[in-house]
C-alpha cells in the first residue's frame, strides 16, 4: 500500500511525496485508519491520518466522501477538528475511497481522559471548550453541506413517509423516529422496550424546531485531550442535520459516563455549567425537556446500534468477543430509556 500511495500522491501533488512511516491505528469499528508521516517535496515529514472505509460500514454512517465535506464545512465554521487535506473519492488507488487529515496529539481513551492526573486541569476546562465547539458546529445550516440531506427535504421527498399526526411538530424528531422504525424492522427479534420508548417519543415530540448540523457521536471517547486542553473532535461518520439538542443529550447519556455516573456530562462535568457555557457560546436556550426527549432517543439509537454490532459477530462478518459482548449490553440502554421516561426531565443541576 505504501508504494501505491507514494506513487499516487507524487502524481496528485505534482511533487515528490515520500512516506517515512505508516502503521494501522487501533479503534474505530467501521473504518480502517492509518497513522502516516509524509514528506512533500523538500519539506520535512508531517504527521497525517489516512481514513478509509472498512469492509462494510455501519448502517446510517456517512461514506468517506460525505464525511470529508462535513469536516470541510466544520473547519470553515471554526470547529476544532483535524483538518482534512486530500480526498480520493474513487476506489482505484487502494481499493476504497480515502482521505488524509492532520494528526493531532492527545488521548481519546475514555478511562484515561476521565482519570489521568496529568489531565486534571484540561478536564476542568473541557465543558467550556466542548460548548464552544458544539456552538460552532450548530452554526452550520442545511445549505452549507449540500451533499447531506436535511430532514425537511427528506420529508418533502418522501411524502408518503410523512405522518399527518406530526404537523407542526419537530421534523428532526419525525425523521429520527422513521429511521428508528426502519432499523427495528430489520432486526430478527422484537424489542418491546424499544417499541415502548418509541411510542413515547411519537406522542411526546416537541414542536417544530431549528435544524442545524449535528455531530451525531459527540461523546467521551471521540475527542482528544492533552494536558493543555481539547486538541480536537473526531469521528464525524454519524453527522447529520437535526436538532442541535440531540448532540447535547448524546454527550449526557449514561453510557458515555464510563462509570462516573454522578457526572452527567460525559463522566467529567455537571449539566448546569455545561448548559450555561453552551447557551453563552451559541445564544440558544437549553431546555431540559428537549434534552430529555433526545436523551431517550439517544439511548434507543445506541440500543439498536449495539444490536447491529453484535450482529456483525453473529453473522460471521466480523468475529470478535467485544462485539459479542455488546449484544448483552443492549438491555442497559433500554432500561435507561425507560427510567428516563418514568423519571421525567433531569433538571439542570443533574
Amino acid at each position: 500500500m505504501q508504494d501505491l500511495l507514494e506513487h499516487y500522491l507524487t502524481e496528485r501533488l505534482g511533487t515528490p511525496a515520500k512516506i517515512t512511516m505508516i502503521k494501522p491505528l487501533i479503534g474505530g469499528a467501521c473504518q480502517d485508519n492509518y497513522a502516516l508521516d509524509l514528506a512533500i517535496g523538500e519539506a520535512s515529514p508531517a504527521e497525517y491520518v489516512l481514513r478509509t472505509d472498512k469492509g462494510k460500514a455501519l448502517e446510517a454512517s456517512l461514506n468517506r466522501v460525505d464525511e470529508y465535506r462535513v469536516i470541510e464545512a466544520a473547519c470553515k465554521a471554526g470547529v476544532r477538528t483535524p483538518k482534512p487535506f486530500l480526498l480520493e473519492p474513487s476506489s482505484d488507488v487502494i481499493g476504497h475511497p480515502f482521505y488524509l487529515m492532520e494528526r493531532i496529539s492527545g488521548t481519546a481513551i475514555a478511562r484515561k481522559l476521565l482519570t489521568d492526573e496529568s489531565l486534571t486541569d484540561a478536564r476542568a476546562k473541557l465543558p467550556y471548550e466542548l460548548a464552544q465547539v458544539l456552538a460552532r458546529i450548530h452554526t452550520i445550516k442545511p445549505p452549507d453541506v449540500p451533499t447531506l440531506t436535511d430532514p425537511v427535504a427528506f420529508l418533502e421527498k418522501h411524502e408518503g413517509a410523512r405522518s399527518t399526526k406530526w404537523q407542526g411538530r419537530s421534523t428532526a424528531a419525525e425523521v429520527a423516529v422513521i429511521d428508528a422504525l426502519h432499523a427495528l424492522d430489520k432486526l430478527d427479534d422484537a424489542y418491546p422496550a424499544i417499541e415502548l420508548a418509541l411510542r413515547w417519543l411519537i406522542r411526546s415530540a416537541p414542536p417544530e424546531r431549528e435544524i442545524t448540523l449535528t455531530h451525531g457521536d459527540f461523546r467521551t471517547g471521540n475527542f482528544m485531550l492533552t494536558p493543555d486542553g481539547l486538541s480536537g473532535v473526531l469521528d464525524w461518520e454519524f453527522a447529520h442535520f437535526g436538532d442541535p439538542m440531540e448532540d447535547i443529550a448524546w454527550l449526557c447519556m449514561r453510557d458515555w459516563r464510563f462509570g462516573r455516573d454522578d457526572r452527567h456530562v460525559g463522566g467529567f462535568a455537571d449539566r448546569e455549567p455545561f448548559y450555561r457555557a453552551y447557551e453563552a457560546a451559541s445564544g440558544r436556550q437549553v431546555d431540559p425537556a428537549i434534552v430529555h426527549y433526545w436523551e431517550i432517543f439517544g439511548n434507543l439509537r445506541w440500543a439498536w446500534g449495539a444490536v447491529q454490532q453484535a450482529q456483525r459477530h453473529l453473522s460471521g462478518a466480523d468475529r470478535s468477543i467485544e462485539l459479542a459482548a455488546i449484544g448483552r449490553r443492549v438491555v442497559e440502554m433500554e432500561f435507561e430509556a425507560l427510567y428516563l421516561i418514568e423519571r421525567g426531565p433531569i433538571l439542570r443541576s443533574n
Binding site: P192, R329, V331
Partner: protein, 130 residues
C-alpha cells in the same frame, strides 16, 4: 442428568483459572482487555444457567396473561417467548394499548428488563437503587 460439577460450576472453574492465573500474566494490553471481557461473559453465562429457568417461566406467564388468545402451549419456552414478544412489539407499535392495559404492558416490559439485567449486569441495576 450429569454428575457435579454442574455446567455453571464448570464455567466458574474456567473463569477462576482465567482471572486468577492467566490474565495476570498477559502483558499485551489489547489481549488482556479481551480476556477480561471473556471472564465477564463467563460470569454472565454462570448467572444465566442458575437463574434463567425461573426467569423465563415468569416472563412466559406474564406474556400469556397479556395475550391469552395466542396459543403457544407445547412450544419450548424460548420459542414461545419469541412469538409472544413479536406480538407484544407489534401491539405496542399499533398504539392501541391504553389505560390499565398500557400500564400492565409497561410493568411487564420493565420487569423483563430487570430480569435480563440480573443476568447480564447486576451491578448496573444496583445503580438505580441508590
Amino acid at each position: 442428568m450429569q454428575n457435579r460439577p454442574t455446567a455453571a460450576e464448570l464455567l466458574e472453574a474456567i473463569r477462576e483459572l482465567l482471572t486468577n492465573e492467566m490474565i495476570p500474566t498477559i502483558s499485551d494490553g489489547g489481549l488482556r482487555f479481551k480476556a477480561l471481557i471473556a471472564a465477564n461473559l463467563l460470569s454472565i453465562t454462570e448467572r444465566e444457567l442458575t437463574l434463567s429457568d425461573d426467569l423465563m417461566d415468569q416472563e412466559l406467564a406474564r406474556l400469556r396473561t397479556l395475550f391469552p388468545g395466542i396459543i403457544t402451549a407445547g412450544a419450548p419456552h424460548r420459542d414461545a417467548i419469541r412469538t409472544l414478544n413479536r406480538a407484544l412489539g407489534a401491539y405496542i407499535r399499533s398504539g392501541e394499548a391504553e389505560g390499565e392495559l398500557a400500564e400492565r404492558i409497561h410493568a411487564h416490559v420493565r420487569q423483563t428488563l430487570i430480569d435480563q439485567l440480573k443476568v447480564s449486569n447486576p451491578k448496573f441495576l444496583a445503580k438505580y437503587k441508590s
